[in-house]
């Protein structure tokens, strides 16, 4: 794995989204939702894991990684505990990121306020 590949794959993930923003009527919110769903699909199709082996955070830090973590959690939980894993696997595997962001948001809201926008 090389850092050059990490940078390149990460950059390509962002450029695709930028093209979608600039050239289509898709809103950023729709693109983010599209990216996490695509992450699940990339994992399901067996594309994500080989990409992660070469690019590391280049593919896991873009929102594909969030969807892929969800899919991996589901697959492992289904393998381990059967049907109940469909319900428990996904959010367990992504709990770290979600909990960290939510707690951070709450914690920072105790000390900071939004400031007025400037041009």
């Amino acid at each position: 794995m090389s850092l050059v590949l990490t940078f390149t794959v990460g950059a390509v993930c962002c450029i695709i989204a930028q093209l979608l923003i600039d050239l289509t009527a898709l809103t950023p919110a729709k693109i983010l939702v599209g990216y996490v769903c695509a992450g699940v699909a990339l994992f399901a199709l067996g594309i994500y894991e080989p990409l992660f082996e070469v690019a590391g955070c280049g593919i896991s830090v873009p929102l594909f990684g969030f969807g892929a973590a969800m899919a991996r959690g589901v697959r492992e939980a289904v393998a381990e505990s059967g049907a109940i894993g469909i319900l428990t696997g996904g959010l367990s595997a992504t709990a770290g990121g979600i909990t960290a962001a939510l707690f951070l948001g709450f914690f920072l809201s105790l000390f900071f306020r939004g400031r007025e926008k400037r041009m």
């Binding site: 950059a11 983010l32 939702v33 996490v36 590391g56 873009p62 929102l63 969800m70 951070l104 709450f106």
Partner: protein
Amino acid sequence: MKQLTKNEKLEIIKRHTPKSKTLRNCILAGLIGGTICLVAELSRRLYLYLGVNKDDSTLLASLTIILLSGLATALGFFDRIGRHAGAGTLVPISGFSNSVVSGAIDSQSEGYISGVGIKIFSVAGPVILYATVSGVIYGLIIYIIGGISAVI
């Protein structure tokens, strides 16, 4: 006065609406997005070096970006970078963190329940929802396929 049809109006508006500077936007998005991934990867290698296992170090790398972006949001300069970076800060986990933290620090004025509690999910909510929904659908598919192949 000549009455314009809806399509004629849309055509006139479109003709005068400036295009996004797509090339410039893409270069900035690629450079900044790539750099964020690079920072995450370097931190992941540091955690690996410190003896953290592979899965946890990947999570910790994402958490590093979440923390840095959250702080940048609270200190008021994430939006200044994001305005130029576009998808470069939106698509990496930094955008997720920014949406959570910006929703939270913007809404204490309506209280911690109806303000912060609701607005913290205003942008992140759809992402979490549809990731969960896709995960369940994927789970159903592998469970059913697993069942069929066991029978066969």
